[in-house]
Amino acid sequence: MEKVFEIIDHTADIGIIAYGSDIEQLFSHAALALFSLITEPESIEEKLQRDLEIISQDKDSLLIEWLNELIYLFDSEHILFNRFKIESLGDDQLRATCYGEKFDPSRHRIKIGVKAATYHMLKVDEDSQGYKAQVIFDI
């Protein structure tokens, strides 16, 4: 089976390596990895959707700001997402529809509080296999 993401353990924080056959899938898998740090993604049902638009300077910042936007939505509105449809992705702009639901303490177990996606040790690579991105989160 093709790899979606893995979790990496870091002294003060935690990180992910996400994989994708194309850049859109990479962004979608990175977001899924983020929510798998926060809770069990299988426990999230699709009850609401959010359209997001991110504008940034380059692909690296676009990835970080995409993840930070999702962290913000969880922290401020308590929304958990488990599916991400990337509508368009350019060099400095991303449009996506995200599906999920409001946090429900009776059904969702929160594993850790992720506070920010960082630029530290950020790596976005492309090879013949596809795309790969490493992101470290502040928790």
């Binding site: 353990d9 870091h10 003060a12 922290d75 401020s76 946090f103 920010a116 960082t118 470290i136």
Partner: protein
């Protein structure tokens, strides 16, 4: 899950100054403007070298306007851009301000309250007390405050800090006198705060949070300097204290995230070459620099308001359990320090007065006796410095010294410092029950998440006693008293 290894660690040569000071020479890397100075024992260096932390100390030495040294305290560990346990002072004339030099959790800090209760009186009621504290103090992931602030009140709170809480009946006026900066950093400007930060901050006002934040009921186990301790109202062994450790929650994180983005662009606009993207910065005097300082002050004030509210609820909880008013229980505040902040201060460098922006990231201000910025009560003993350890060991009360003023821009360590990742900390327990393990050592714990509790196991941290010994021996602070936990609440 796999462990991230920073290849073979950091093996470059350090120059030994004495048993507690080590230098990274300025010529270690081209671009360093000053040498690095590390406060550590030889034994601690071994563990510090396992990560790329010292490379980060060298990277900070690249920043424009950095004066004297890029400092590392003995509790140093890997951080974003700047190491945690790092101190760097930049001249306000030609220096920069970097959000990475403050950290995400702006004004994460510690507040200490004392009581006139002793261990014999508290231990029989510790379960009841911990339950009451846990019930009364909002904590944990996604926890929302008991105080509901409107947008207008949020703006007031950002400007007023701890005073906002006192004005609304949370705590005492005298608490402000024994809080760093009086619990209010000047220059806070809510117009520099994003909508997002406000939306994240409003529901979390007055909450303890999760992760490494806690409230601890402690017992004084050792007093090293009875005269100084008694000025702080710490009078004898067995006395019960309350230590509160929290910061600016999601609000501070959003402020940092927002301004890192601005600083990224600013760094290239001002032609600042950085060895690490996470060191993004702007000249202190630039619009970007001033905007960050104004926003950072809002987050610092939000954090002080948090600790002020929590102190009030801690007093209420004690009052309920012991049937006496907080006043009758002698629950005065000893002090409140921040350990993630940047401040404009005046220091003497090579005999000249110099205005600098001191970044303290995982480091504590440690001003000496007689300094104008410490409260009259402590003028003769120096500024109290509060050094929390992990929940299974102990914490220290210390004071600032003239040597800190002369050497480290009046700064010292902030705590124990992590050595194991969260995953490794859990694995180190090998399935043992952390709650039972602590109970067997006489420590009652109540936590919102057992999983996050395991991540904070003692094994995950350096021994704070070693950290304290280094700063004491090096003379950048003086240890006064040591306390051990009796009960802990965590998110």
């Amino acid at each position: 899950m796999r462990e991230q290894r920073s290849n073979s660690g950091w093996q470059c040569q350090l120059v030994k100054i004495d048993d507690y000071r080590w230098q990274i020479p300025q010529d270690y890397k081209a671009g360093m403007k000053v040498p690095g100075l590390i406060y550590a024992s030889e034994a601690m260096l071994k563990s510090i070298r396992k990560e790329q932390t010292l490379e980060q100390v060298a990277n900070v030495a690249f920043l424009p306007g950095v004066v004297k040294f890029s400092f590392a305290m003995p509790d140093i560990h890997w951080g974003y851009g700047f190491p945690i346990g790092g101190v760097a002072a930049m001249s306000t004339k030609d220096g920069v301000i970097s959000p990475g030099g403050v950290g995400y959790d702006i004004n994460c800090g510690v507040r200490l309250l004392r009581t006139n209760l002793n261990e014999e009186e508290v231990r029989p009621k510790i379960n009841q007390l911990i339950n009451e504290l846990f019930k009364n103090i909002p904590s944990g992931l996604g926890s929302e405050g008991k105080i509901r602030v409107s947008q207008k009140e949020m703006s007031e709170l950002m400007v007023e800090g701890a005073r906002w809480a006192v004005r609304h009946g949370f705590g005492w006026e005298e608490d402000l006198e024994v809080t760093e900066e009086g619990g209010c950093l000047k220059g806070a400007d809510p117009s520099k705060i994003s909508e997002k930060a406000i939306k994240r901050g409003m529901p979390q006002a007055g909450t303890l949070g999760s992760g490494n934040h806690f409230l601890e009921v402690q017992v004084v186990k050792e007093i090293f300097d009875p005269r100084v301790a008694s000025v702080m109202g710490i009078d004898g062994l067995g006395q019960v204290l309350v230590l509160i450790h929290t910061g600016s929650r999601g609000f501070g994180h959003q402020v940092c995230t927002d301004h890192l983005r601005v600083m990224e662009e600013a760094a290239s606009k001002y032609g600042i070459k950085l060895p690490d993207r996470q060191l993004a910065c702007a000249p202190i005097e630039s619009k970007e620099g001033q905007d960050y300082l104004a926003a950072m002050a809002c987050a610092a004030n939000y954090a002080w308001n948090n600790r002020q509210c929590i102190a009030h609820w801690a007093r209420e909880s004690f009052s309920k359990v012991f049937g006496k008013s907080p006043g009758e229980l002698g629950m005065k505040q000893v002090y409140d320090v921040c350990h993630n902040v940047a401040k404009i201060e005046e220091h003497t460098v090579d005999g000249q007065k110099l205005k600098v922006c001191v970044h303290r990231k995982g480091a504590t201000r440690a001003f000496p006796a007689g300094h104008k910025d410490i409260p009259p009560l402590y003028k003769e003993i120096g500024q109290p410095v509060l050094i929390p350890g992990d929940m299974g060991r102990c914490s220290f009360v210390a004071v600032g010294t003239q040597k800190a003023m002369d050497e480290t821009f009046g700064s010292t360590c902030h705590g124990a410092g992590r050595v194991l990742s969260r995953g490794a900390a859990k694995r180190s327990l090998k399935g043992r029950d952390i709650v039972q393990e602590l109970e067997s050592r006489g420590i009652t714990v109540k936590a919102g998440s057992i999983s996050s509790l395991a991540e904070e196991a003692s094994q995950a941290y350096k021994d704070v006693t070693e950290v304290m010994d280094v700063v004491h021996q090096a003379g950048i602070s003086k240890k006064i008293a040591m306390a051990v936990p009796l009960g802990v609440i965590k998110g």
